[in-house]
């Protein structure tokens, strides 16, 4: 398409129509792929061409405007180019304004970060368009801060909105921030609350990053908000969005970068300068050899016994109990905590006599001194006690789970210990040392992550893989020595008490209400226990109870809980023998199947949909397995 330059009054509306029609039919790539670079070059310095270009897009009919604008936004390599090509289209044309400020930002979330940068940079570049930028920011913040949006919208959309917010912030200048400082502060407070309430670690982190960025913008001097979270690529990418390196933009480069660097380290940095203030530089003056060594006539004594002083840990379990409950001697207390697990494992008979007492002490044990890895030591000791004497200790722990006056941390500890002990009991002993895997990382953050579910999911995936047909198999692993599954006799004791009282609220603990995070953990724990109960006698009864439990909670609003429920179904399908499933639970299974179908289609959370699909596949496999039997 070639234009005649020079003074001719040409009508471009025909071209606009063609462009619009082509774009709406999905041919954006082809036509804009040619047009945009050409226009880019032409409009670089020539005002007339710029105006021609603006006329071109303005004349596109409203019904095709969206496609054209979207195409342009996606194709242009930078915000400044977009500004040259579109001009003030968004101000003049209502439809374009709607597309740019509402549709692309709030209603869609499939676009890349580059598109966002283009869009928002475009809005920031011209004085006429800047008010739109502030308007956009306010709307984004409203969405970001609304608790229903946080609960129900998919994580991908939330990430998209967070990115948009950060880019907007990076474009705002000081006077603009001044004018809307109060609103920024209020929306930040509300938003951060909803985000931290969420059970998904990714959402929490998004909230923290955005809140930190907002706070650093509105309090340029003075203390800024700073959270502790795991740095990974996503976090770094988000933070890099705050800094603009625009060749044409007038926005001054922000001091955010330095502050972000400091915010990065979750561990306190020991400043090296502190160390230099200490001992003055040692000047080792060489003793002149001329001085006679009259020290030589002093013969040293034997000093081989001189070793570091170590407090001895008690050797008997009952002594340990004494030290942990009463002793004022902190050295002894520390030594006891460190030695307890191995003592318990070496003296099972002695432990069995005092197991419940020991479990009680450990559950209430608080950190007296600063030992490294205290939480892990305590947990390992608890697991050791539980595996040595499963039934009474499990009874105690599960009853305490539903008792008054325990902290959330303690209740979750109980769940973690039950899972770890169950795993240990169900693994064959000859498997070498029991895996104290990093699956349960005792986190000291705001709310600990649910690592057990990730690790567990990996196991389920492997199991599913093992059930799919293979045409060629590699050499199988060497046969592991088999030994009786110790978990089978106690599985019921672990499982049923946990499932019993979930709907009875206590004054300090309401699983179905505020404490939905603990409910999520409980559900995941039940899933693991179910999974580990494969081939045990109680497995069918467990399966039935679990199915009822899942059915009651299936519409829970928290996506972490829903993920847990779906994991429960998976373990159920994997652990309960197929015959029993068919005989005892046919109706429930059919209902579950239709529920799963619903979840696959309508659930906002991607992980839930994936799990539901997996479950449906498992059910299909089951059916196929049973077909030859039935027919």
């Amino acid at each position: 398409v070639c234009f005649i330059p020079g003074g001719l009054d040409c009508s471009i509306s025909f071209v606009s129509h063609v462009l619009g029609k082509a774009c709406v039919h999905g041919r954006q790539k082809e036509i804009l792929g040619v047009l945009v670079p050409r226009l880019m070059d032409l409009t670089k310095s020539d005002c007339i061409w710029q105006r021609i270009c603006w006329r071109l897009v303005e004349c596109v009919p409203d019904r095709w405007m969206e496609a054209v604008v979207l195409g342009f936004v996606q194709r242009t390599p930078g915000a400044d180019v977009l500004s040259r090509l579109l001009g003030n289209l968004v101000v003049k044309n209502k439809k374009a304004q709607f597309v740019v400020t509402q549709k692309l930002l709030l209603l869609q979330y499939c676009h890349t970060t580059a598109v966002l940068q283009n869009l928002l940079g475009y809005l920031a570049l011209d004085g006429l368009r800047r008010p739109l930028l502030t308007k956009v920011l306010q709307e984004l913040l409203e969405t970001w801060g609304s608790s229903s949006a946080v609960k129900h919208s998919p994580p991908e959309q939330q990430l998209y909105i967070s990115k948009a917010i950060l880019i907007c912030l990076s474009h705002l200048k000081e006077p603009e921030i001044e004018s809307c400082r109060q609103e920024l502060l209020t929306s930040m407070m509300e938003g951060v609350k909803c985000h931290l309430d969420s059970s998904l670690p990714q959402i929490r982190r998004l909230g923290m990053i955005v809140a930190e960025s907002i706070s650093s913008k509105i309090n340029t001097d003075g203390p800024v908000l700073k959270f502790q979270y795991e740095e990974d690529d996503e976090a770094r990418e988000l933070k890099s969005l705050l800094v603009q390196t625009p060749p044409f933009c007038v926005v001054p480069s922000l001091p955010d970068d330095d502050r972000n660097e400091k915010a990065d380290a979750a561990l306190p940095l020991v400043l090296e300068s502190d160390k230099s203030h200490t001992a003055a530089p040692v000047t080792p003056v060489e003793e002149s050899d001329a001085e006679l060594d009259s020290d030589d006539d002093l013969i040293p004594y034997d000093m081989s016994e001189d070793k570091e002083l170590k407090t001895k840990a008690p050797v008997y379990i009952r002594d340990c109990i004494e030290v942990l409950t009463g002793s004022e001697d902190v050295d002894k207390w520390e030594a006891t905590v460190k030695a307890l697990e191995s003592l318990v494992r070496k003296n099972p008979a002695a432990t069995r006599e005092v197991s419940v007492e020991l479990a009680k002490i450990l559950l209430h044990l608080e950190e007296k001194t600063c030992i490294e890895g205290f939480v892990e030591l305590r947990q390992r000791a608890q697991v050791a006690v539980l595996t040595t004497d499963p039934i009474p200790v499990a009874k105690y722990l599960t009853s305490q789970f539903y008792s008054l006056n325990y902290s959330l941390r303690q209740r979750m500890d109980i769940l973690d210990v039950l899972v770890l002990a169950a795993r240990e009991l169900s693994y064959p002993k000859s498997h070498g040392k029991t895996k104290h895997s990093g699956a349960q990382k005792p986190c000291i953050q705001l709310l600990p992550g649910s690592d057990s579910s990730k690790d567990w999911r990996r196991i389920v995936d492997e199991r599913i893989k093992s059930k799919t047909r293979r045409f060629a198999t590699g050499p199988s692993q060497g046969e592991l020595a088999s030994s009786p599954n110790e978990f089978s006799s106690v599985a019921g004791h672990f499982f049923f008490p946990l499932i019993q009282h979930f709907d009875r609220p206590l004054t300090t603990f309401d699983l179905l209400g505020e404490d939905h995070f603990v409910l999520g953990r409980l559900v995941h724990t039940l899933a693991v226990l179910m999974y580990l109960a494969v081939n045990t006698v109680a497995v069918t009864a467990m399966g039935k109870a679990l199915l009822e439990f899942v059915w009651a909670l299936r519409f829970h609003t928290d996506s972490y809980v829903r993920q847990g429920l779906l994991s429960c179904i998976s373990s159920l399908l994997l652990s309960v023998p197929a015959q029993h499933l068919l005989e005892d639970m046919t109706e429930e299974l059919l209902e579950t199947q239709s529920w799963l179908g619903d979840v696959v289609e309508k659930d906002p959370d991607g992980d839930c949909r994936k799990l539901a699909l997996q479950n449906l596949l498992l059910m299909e496999n089951l059916k196929k397995k049973l077909e030859p039997v039935l027919s």
Partner: protein, 328 residues
Amino acid sequence: MALPPPDPQFVLRGTSAAVHTLHFSCGGQEPDVPILFSGSENGFIHVWNLKTHRVDVALDGHGRKSVYCVQTMGGKDRLLSQGRDQRICTWDLAEGRTSVTDSVFTENVGFCRCSLLKVAQGRWLMAMAAKATDEVQVLELPSKTSVCTLKPEVGAKLGMPMCLKLWQLSCGSQPLLLAGYEDGSVVLWNLSMGKALSQLVCHQEPVMSFDFDSEKAKGISGSSEKVLSIWSLDEQQNLQVYKTHKLVNAGISDITIRPDKKILATAGWDHRLRIFGWKKLKPLAVLDYHTATVHCVSFSDHKNPSERLLAAGSKDHRISIWSIYSQT
């Protein structure tokens, strides 16, 4: 093949409280009995007869508050003691008397032991921690007049003085004061001008104790950490770190250099006494007898070198007496 460390020559029992301070007085001629003074946490000062190994007298002058410093003033008949009742008392012990002749109310609630220096016949200088947290006051005894008050400059943040030592290079020269502070530094003060001549940061933790050899102008200090620090004083009255020595276990309560400047002893929180050669800080022996922190260590002033003794007082209520390296 090194010999195993020796056992204590004898052990004094009977204080029934932790022993915080020891002082020998064995320089007298026959028929004077060698004496060891000990101050305990229950406020008593025991006068031990080193021939019979029994307590001769128990002095009660600090209202049952812990006594943490005892020193003689020119012979065993005059004793100076400092206690947690904020008083420093002088005693007259001649001819069997046991009376407090004088006392100074220090208004200081710390643990800093005072330091005595004889400047003339019958006249003494005494340095002690004063009422304000980081000040040191020097009094003249027996007149109890204040000679000077040593205040660190504003913002120095030295903390409490932990240990003091008055010394003069030779009789009649300027008395100087070395003070170890809570922040780990040692400061050399000039008394006549009341100014600090030099400050050296030796440790990162408070200086628990130090001793100074005025002939060699070298000192050694111990702290609650694992390092002993040896420093020297040069011509310009500047302190410099000479070297450091790493210990096996952290924590030193007391350091003393033997009067003949050949060896030194440290009392450790790890219940052990360590003996080093003073010239090069060569480790010589580790004496492991006590079952709790050793609070104080002291060398005797016997005229006859072969009779010299080392005493250590500990939290386990015992005083161990050792005869070690007495042949040199």
